[in-house]
Symmetry: C2
Subunit: 607 residues, 2 copies
C-alpha cells in the first residue's frame, strides 16, 4: 500500500496545486516537475529511511566522551536528503533553490516523516536557514544559510532552558558585547553568550561539518541586569565551530559544550541535548563565552524566532500525522493478513470453518476507519495550511493577508490536533495487532512512542490552547475567526445541496455556531481566568470542528471524482468523522461555555 | 503523598469492609487485622518494589541459552511477597491461609501494583492455585496449589497460541493419554501434550523451584481429530519439572521448552514467553510430549479456566488503575515543585516577579483532577467488584447470586475502563512534566508504556465489548442489567435530596436511561451484526456511566464525613466526572442507537 494516491488526490484534485504555476514565482513548474519531486522523495524515503527506522530506535545516540555517535544509516539518509536538494526546495533559483511551492515541499517531506520521523532533521536546518534568509544580513545568509541549504552545515533552534521551558520570559542566557570592536564584525554584531539550553534537537552530532545554533539570549543593561519578560530577548547565531567570513572553518571550536544527552521514550534517532554555552570548556581566543552574532535588532529576537517556530509547528503537526499514517498502513496490512475468529451471525457458528482475516470484523474496521479519518484528515489539514503559506507569499495583497490571518488561527490546530489524534491512531494500530502490537517485533509500538513527544514538542497543548483562545480568536477584532467561519460556510453552501451531504453540512453549521457561542461565553466576563480555565477542551472542540470542515471539503472533491474504492473510502472516512467524532464537541464546549471552575478553584491540598 | 488515606476511606467509610467480620468466615478479623495487612504490604512495596521499578525496565529478562536471567531485585521482591503470606491470603486457615476478605486482599495488592507492576507476578500464582482449589483433586491441591501458596512453586495460565489469540476455539495443542495406565496416576489422568503457547507471562524464570502451567488443550477423538470450537477444550496441569505425589522434584525436566522471549514496549519485569510443549527437547521417560494431568472433566476446560480469567480480569483492571495512580502521584509531586510561568490576569503581568509553581495553573489543575477522577474512581470500582466477590462467597444465597450476576456485568468494565482511562491519566502525567515527561529520567513515561499492555491483556476492548453487549446484558433475561440499574437508582435516590448532588443525580438517571435505550435499540433487529457493530463505543459509554455512579456513591460517603481537604478533593473529582466526562456518552451511544454501519459496511479495498 502506498501513500502516494492520497497525496496526489489532495494536491491535485482537492488543492489544485498545479494552478499555482500561473504565478510568476512558480511559472517554470508543472504537474510533471511536482511529480518528479514527489517521486524522488518517495524513493529516498523508501530506500534510505524506512529500512532503518528500528535501527535508530535501538541504537540510541551516545556520547563517547568526544563525539556523539549515530548509526551509519542516519549519515547515509541525511546525505541522500541533502543531495536531493530538498533543504532549499522553496528557495530562489539564484541561491540554488527550486522555487517549489511550500505545499509541494511539505507533501514531499511527508514521505520521510512516515518512513522514519527521527532520522530526519532537515526540518530544523531548513527552518533555521529560512529564518536567516528573512532576518539575516547578506553575510549571514551567505556564510550560514547557504551552507545549511547545501547540507554542509545543519541547524538548531535553542529556546528552552532547564528552568524556562514554556516560559520564555525567564530565559537567563546572557549575551555581552565581545570587545570594543564588537559592532564591526563582518558576520554581525559579535557577542559572548553564557547559559544553558535544554531540549535542543540535533544539538550535537557529526552529521555535518558544523552546527549552526540559533540562540535566544538577553543582553544585560548598563547595570548588568537582564530585562525581565520577553521584551529583552535577542537572537544570535552561535556556530559550534568558528567560521570566517568566507564560510571556512578556522579550526577553532566555539565555546559550546554538550552537557548531556536526553534519553527519551521515543524519537530516538535525533539527539536531544542539554548544551552549555560559554562555560569555558572551549575558550575562544583564550576567553570563556560562546561567540554569537546578533540576528536582526536587539530585543526583537522572539519576533524573528516565531518565523521559525510557526514553520516548526506545522512541521510537528505533519510529523505527528505521518507517524499516525505509518501505523494505519501497518495495521491495515496486518488486518488483511492475520486470520483470527469467525464472522458474527450464522456464518460464524461453525467452528470447523477456517477463521477469517481480522479485517472482516466490524470492530477492526472501526479501528481502521478511525485511523484513516484521523490521519488522512490531518494530512489534508497540514497541506491546507501549507497552501495558505503559498498564498501568503505569492497571492495578491488581500488574499495574502487573509491567508496570514487564517494561518494564525489554524496553526495551534495544525500543531495540536494531529499530536493528539494521530497518537490515538497509533494506539489503535497497536490494538489491531493484539499482543504482537506491544512487542518490538512489529513497528507500531515505536510509532506510538515516537508520537508521544509531539504533544509537547514546539509548545504543549496548554500553550497552543492559550494561544488559540487567549490570542488568535481575538486578534484584529476577531477577523481571523470570521475568515475561518467564512471558509467553513463556503464549504457548507457547496455541500448542502448534495443530498448525501446535506445532513453533514447542517451538522457542521451547528458545530460552528456552537464554537462561536462558546467563544463568546468564555469571554463574557472579560476575565482571562474565567475564559481560559478550559482552554484545552476549547482547543479540542475547535480542532474537531476544523477537521469536520476539512473532511466535508475533501469529500466534495471526492464526490466529483469517478466511482472507485478510494472514493468510497474517502466518503466513508468523512461519514465516520461526522457520526463518530464531531458529536464529541458538545462535552468539551459545555465546560467552556459555563466557564467551569471545578479544576481552577480546587485548592492545592485537596488533590 | 501516600495512597493509604484513599484506600482507608474506600474500604472503611465507603465499603464498610469491617462489617464483613460479622460473617463466620471472617469472624477473627477486625479493623486492626486489616490494617496490619495493609501496613505490611505498603512497607514491602515501598522497600522491595518501588526502588527497583526502573531496574526491571532496563534490565529486561534475557535467556543465556539455559536460564532466563532476571534482576536480583525481582528475586528479593518475590521472596518478600511470598513470606508475607499474601499468596494464600484468602485461603482457609487449615491450608495455611488468613481467611482474609478478597476486598482487603485486593486493596493490599494495590500497593505492589503501584510500586512496580511488572515485578509482581503473584496474581498469576494465586489465581492458578485458587483454580486448583476449586476444581482440582485433593492430590492436585496438595502437590501443586499448596506449594504455590507457599511460594515454592509459581503458576501460569496458558491459553493463547500463535494462531489463536482471542479465538480460543482454534486452540490446536493436543493431549493424548499417556500409556494404558494413564487413568491411574495419583496426580490425575495423565496425558502427553504437544503444541505451542504464546504470550505466557512468567512462563520461564528461576524465581521458584518449579513453574506450574495450566494449559488448555484438546483431546483428539478416536480418529485423531480435534473437536472444533471451544467444546473440545480440556485443562491440564503441566509442571516445568516433574513432581512426584509427595510434591518432591524427581530431578527430571518435563518436555516444556522456552521457544522465545517476547520483547515488549512495557511491563518488562515479567517474562513473556512462547513455550513449546512436547517438541521432544526434554523427553520424559525417553518419549517426547509434555506430561500433563487433567483438571476437572475432559471438555470442560474453558469453564474451569474462566474461574481464573475473571479474577485475572479484575487483576488487570487493578494493575491499570495503579499504574495510573502512580503517574498521578508523580505528576502531582512534580506540579507542586516545578516553577514555571506566571498567573493569568494582572498578577501575572509583571515578569520581574518570580515564576509560580505549575500547580497554580488552571490547565495543570485540570490534568491533575482528571487523573484523580480516573484513577481514584477506577480504584473504587475495582474494590466494589472485590466486595462483590466476598458477597458471592459469603453472603446469603440471594445476595450471593445477585453479586455473582452483577460481577458478570461489571467485569468487562472493571477490565476495560481502567486500561483505557488510566492510560490516558498516564499520558496526562507525562504532559504535566513537559519535556522531562518523555525522558527516562522521570518515571512517568514507563508507567505509560507499562499500561499500554492492559488494553490487550486478558481480552482486548473488542472482546470485552462483545462480552458485555453480546452476552452479559442479555443473560438470564437481562437480570444483570436490571440489578445494576437497581443499584444505580439506589444511589440516585440517596443523592437527589442533597441540594449539591441533585443535578448530578438527575444526570446519572438520564445517562442510565440513555444506556438502557441504546441497549434496546442496538438489539432492535435481533441481528448480532447490527447490534455489535459498535460494541466498543457501547462499552465506553457503559463504563463512563458506571464510573459516574461509583463517583456519586463515593461522594455520598465523602459528604457524610467532616470537612477536610481530602473531602473537598473527592467531591471535586465527582464534579469533574459529571461536568467533563459523563457528557461524552452521547457521542458514543449515538452510533450504537442508530446501529451505524459506516465501518462495518465498508469494503476492504476502500481502506
Amino acid at each position: 500500500m502506498s501513500l502516494r494516491p492520497t497525496v496526489d488526490f489532495l494536491l491535485n484534485d482537492w488543492l489544485h496545486v498545479e494552478s499555482l504555476n500561473q504565478r510568476e514565482r512558480f511559472a517554470d513548474h508543472s504537474r510533471e516537475t511536482f511529480d518528479a519531486v514527489l517521486d524522488t522523495c518517495e524513493r529516498i524515503a523508501r530506500e534510505k529511511y524506512a529500512p532503518f527506522n528500528r535501527v535508530v530506535d535501538t541504537q540510541e545516540p551516545h556520547f563517547d566522551g568526544e563525539k556523539v555517535i549515530l548509526p551509519q544509516a542516519t549519515h547515509d539518509a541525511q546525505k541522500a536528503y541533502a543531495e536531493s536538494g530538498m533543504l532549499s526546495a522553496a528557495q530562489d533559483y539564484e541561491v540554488g533553490g527550486m522555487q517549489l511551492p511550500y505545499t509541494v515541499e511539505a507533501a514531499a517531506n511527508a514521505f520521510f516523516a512516515m518512513a522514519s520521523v527521527s532520522i530526519g532533521s532537515g526540518m530544523l536546518t531548513t527552518g533555521n536557514a529560512n529564518l536567516l534568509m528573512a532576518h539575516g544580513t547578506d553575510a549571514q545568509k551567505r556564510v550560514f544559510a547557504l551552507n545549511e541549504f547545501s547540507g554542509r552545515f545543519s541547524g538548531t533552534m535553542c529556546l528552552s532552558e532547564p528552568q524556562a521551558g514554556s516560559s520564555l520570559s525567564d530565559v537567563a542566557t546572557r549575551a555581552v558585547p565581545d570587545g570594543p570592536d564588537f559592532q564591526s564584525d563582518p558576520l554581525g554584531p559579535r557577542y559572548r553568550l553564557k547559559g544553558n539550553k535544554m531540549w535542543i534537537s540535533a544539538g550535537e552530532h557529526e552529521l555535518t561539518e558544523n552546527i549552526i545554533h540559533l540562540v535566544l539570549a538577553k543582553i544585560p543593561d548598563e547595570n548588568g541586569r537582564l530585562v525581565p519578560g520577553t521584551r529583552g530577548i535577542s537572537l544570535f547565531i552561535v556556530p559550534k565551530k568558528i567560521v570566517n567570513p568566507a564560510g571556512e572553518l578556522t579550526g577553532e571550536r566555539n565555546d559550546v559544550a554538550l552537557a548531556g544527552l536526553n534519553h527519551k521514550c521515543g524519537w530516538r534517532g535525533t539527539t536531544n541535548t542539554l548544551l552549555n554555552f560559554g562555560e569555558g570548556r572551549f575558550p575562544v581566543k583564550g576567553e570563556a563565552g560562546a561567540v554569537g552574532y546578533l540576528v536582526g535588532q536587539a530585543g526583537k529576537g522572539l519576533h524573528c524566532m516565531f518565523h521559525m517556530m510557526n514553520e516548526a509547528r506545522i512541521g510537528v503537526g505533519m510529523a505527528a500525522t505521518m507517524l499516525g499514517m505509518a501505523g494505519y498502513h501497518a495495521s491495515l496490512d496486518y488486518a488483511k493478513n492475520r486470520p483470527q475468529g469467525r464472522p458474527m451471525g450464522p456464518a460464524g457458528k461453525d467452528p470447523a470453518q477456517p477463521p477469517v482475516r481480522i479485517i472482516e470484523h466490524a470492530d477492526v474496521k472501526r479501528m481502521l476507519l478511525a485511523q484513516k479519518a484521523y490521519c488522512e484528515g490531518a494530512l489534508a489539514l497540514e497541506l491546507y495550511c501549507a497552501r495558505l503559506v503559498d498564498e501568503q507569499h505569492t497571492a495578491d495583497a488581500t488574499t495574502a493577508d487573509d491567508a496570514r490571518l487564517l494561518l494564525e488561527v489554524l496553526t495551534p490546530i495544525a500543531k495540536s490536533w494531529p499530536s493528539e489524534w494521530c497518537l490515538e491512531a497509533n494506539s489503535l494500530a497497536i490494538q489491531i495487532h493484539g499482543g504482537y502490537g506491544y512487542t518490538r517485533d512489529f513497528p507500531v509500538e515505536q510509532y506510538w512512542r515516537d508520537n508521544r513527544l509531539n504533544m509537547i514538542h514546539e509548545g504543549t497543548h496548554g500553550i497552543q490552547a492559550m494561544d488559540l483562545l487567549g490570542r488568535k480568536v481575538l486578534m484584529e477584532g476577531g477577523k481571523g475567526l470570521s475568515l475561518l467561519a467564512g471558509r467553513i460556510n463556503d464549504t457548507i453552501q457547496r455541500a448542502i445541496h448534495i443530498p448525501e451531504f446535506a445532513a453533514h453540512a447542517n451538522a457542521l453549521g451547528q458545530a460552528l455556531a456552537q464554537v462561536g457561542a462558546a467563544t463568546k461565553a468564555a469571554w463574557a466576563t472579560g476575565e482571562p481566568t474565567d475564559a481560559l480555565a478550559n482552554a484545552v477542551p476549547y482547543l479540542q472542540a475547535f480542532g474537531h470542528t476544523v477537521l469536520a470542515w476539512i473532511w466535508l471539503d475533501v469529500a466534495l472533491a471526492a464526490h466529483a471524482a469517478a466511482e472507485s474504492p478510494a472514493r468510497a473510502g474517502r466518503l466513508a472516512a468523512m461519514r465516520f468523522f461526522f457520526h463518530y467524532e464531531l458529536p464529541k464537541i458538545g462535552a468539551w464546549l459545555q465546560v467552556v461555555s459555563s466557564r467551569d471552575q471545578t479544576c481552577a478553584a480546587l485548592p492545592e491540598e485537596a488533590f
